[in-house]
């Protein structure tokens, strides 16, 4: 890939709404991405490999559990800091942001929120330092948008639980040390269990042949009579609301993250349009190109404002599931449209690995599907404003 000349757009001077520490955290993440991620990520995506050497750097910049309290190894930061780190990571690659999102919001968050003190002390510091990689098992082959229909289950077997079932489309599954797995007990109630690599009957086959999130590893979690110690049950919350609480946190991170992907596409398109000469002038001179760029920066600015406000609400503990859903849906859709328009501006170059556009575009096809599809999020907003569920 060509030299990373990224310059972040800030059309409405949003930096003025951030604290000095927010900016220091964001700029440090941005510097790290420029130094360690963008020079290599294209190659790893092309090879469909996860750059494991980046794990330490991710931990160093605070990408693993930024809002987890410091006594458990987290950074104890606010939600806007978390969002800004996700934005910078996804500016590099959605796969990298996905790995950090899963670790933070889907593994550390439930252990912190729903776990007991022993579980927090045992797992959180290792997850924060990157010594442990975590994964999150909710989606099943036959239960994606409808997780309450899950068939993965556990039985009380005296001194342990016996876990059976399978989870699919699991980020980090092939490399995870621990998995937070959602399964039904004998009464049909959903609980979270911490499953560790090495437990007999627990396997993590990899999903190959993806055209998206190629620099991130995806797979299954398969449980064949896995004996899970009773102390690995998350005791403090059960029911579908427990995993959905994790998804609120992860979706919030996605809403920020995809702004990074959109900014990268816009920045690259803007520069390319000013340098690419056709008919003896830069293609940025043409009205149709200017229309694309004007719409891109407008949509990015709207998403930045939406997300900043959501961050303030989240810091105050007032952000609703429905508000987070709206931001996730709007921003991913915005980023995907910008990636497609940026691809047009880059002409044929836009399909090559010389530019990040096609990689972002393909990544975003996953992001618009996982953690609630675009359509399901529309129905969440629809239900919120009409009071009528369209799910059943």
């Amino acid at each position: 890939m060509a030299t990373d000349r990224f310059q972040a757009p800030d059309y409405y001077l949003l930096d003025e709404l951030l604290s000095d520490e927010h900016k220091l955290i964001r700029d440090s993440a941005r510097e790290w991405v420029k130094k360690d991620v963008t020079p290599i990520i294209e190659e790893y995506a092309q090879k469909a490999e996860y750059p494991t050497q980046l794990t330490k750097g991710l931990a160093d910049i605070g990408a693993f559990g930024p809002y987890i309290p410091t006594e458990y190894g987290g950074a104890g930061l606010d939600q806007i800091s978390y969002g800004l780190i996700m934005q910078e990571l996804e500016r590099g690659d959605s796969g990298l942001r996905s790995a950090a999102s899963v670790q933070s919001s889907l593994v550390m968050y439930p252990i912190y929120q729903y776990g007991n003190e022993a579980q927090r002390n045992k797992y959180l510091p290792k997850l924060a330092s990157g010594e442990f990689i975590g994964s999150f098992g909710l989606t099943e082959p036959d239960h994606g948008s409808n997780p309450s229909g899950m068939i993965t289950n556990f039985k009380d077997n005296g001194d342990h639980y016996l876990l059976n079932g399978a989870k699919m489309w699991i980020t980090n599954s092939p490399i995870c040390d621990v998995a937070v797995v959602w399964a039904k007990n004998e009464a049909g109630r959903i609980h979270g269990l911490i499953v560790e690599r090495g437990m007999e009957g627990f396997t993590t086959p990899e999903t190959h042949g993806k055209w998206s999130l190629r620099a991130s590893r995806t797979g299954e979690l398969v449980f064949d009579n896995v004996k899970v110690p009773k102390e690995n049950l998350l005791p403090n919350k059960s029911g579908l609301g427990a995993p959905l609480g994790c998804l609120d946190s992860a979706r919030y991170g996605i809403a920020w993250g995809v702004i990074g992907a959109a900014m990268d596409c816009y920045d690259s398109a803007l520069r390319y349009s000013q340098e690419r000469i056709q008919f003896d002038k830069p293609i940025a001179s043409f009205q149709l190109v200017q229309k694309k760029l004007a719409e891109m920066i407008t949509e990015i600015t709207k998403a930045q404002l939406l997300t900043w406000r959501l961050g303030v609400l989240k810091n105050e503990g007032r952000a609703t599931t429905q508000q987070i859903s709206m931001a996730k849906r709007n921003n991913v859709d915005m980023a995907l449209k910008i990636a497609r328009e940026a691809r047009q501006i880059h002409g044929g170059m836009g399909i090559t690995g010389e530019y990040p556009i096609m990689r972002h575009m393909m990544n975003l096809e996953s992001v618009i599907t996982y953690e609630g599809t675009h359509d399901i999020h529309l129905l969440i907003t629809g239900m919120d404003v009409t009071g009528i569920s369209a799910f059943r």
């Binding site: 440090s28 510097e31 605070g62």
Partner: protein, 246 residues
Amino acid sequence: MKILVCISKVPDTTSKIAFTDGNSKFDTNGVQFIINPYDEWYALVRALELKEANGGSVTVINVGLADNDPTIRKALAIGADDAVRVNLDPKDAMDAAQQIADYASANGYELVLCGKETIDYNGSQMGGMIAAILNQEFISNATKLDMNGNTATIERDIQGGTEVLELNIPFVVSAAKGMAEARIPNMRGIMAARTKPLTVVEPSASFNATEVLTYELPPAKGSCKMISADNPAELLDLLRNEAKIL
């Protein structure tokens, strides 16, 4: 060893440069500021490496007003132990150098490091002026700095080779590319920086030896005309008849 590192705040290299007040002042409106890279990447990081290897302390110093604090806080996040800001908007290099020298002298610093130049005014004056006021040796453009007890070995790039010098503390040195490798603040450092001391001291007498009359932007770049490689006749024609240099 007590090390003092001079930290200057400069516009980011991507900033659009403009002037106000009849072209006599730099227009800071909308400009992002960073730590001068020579101060941060080389002087500060090498000072931290020396401290990590040999013990001691690293203080960063800046002459400026409160809006410099975020820049100084970054130096603390990178690893400096404490920071001092002399509360003065310096009028020129001599004004800032006098403040730094006064502070260094009053507080017994044994080694003063700065970048070889700032990337805004490119004056390369600070190290030399501080050393002159302190009546100490000054080594400019150092690419390597090693300490063995109180004795330093310093390398400088010179025409066609390298100069190796040895001298004893106290002295002042300006750092060039190669002295260290830039460090990105990590989360641990950012968190630690919250509680590290940033002391604001009032300036000693301020004076300026020079006065800026005006600034001018360099002339705009001429447009570049691309000529096909298989059309040398057009090139010759343009050189003869348009540029009139043949």
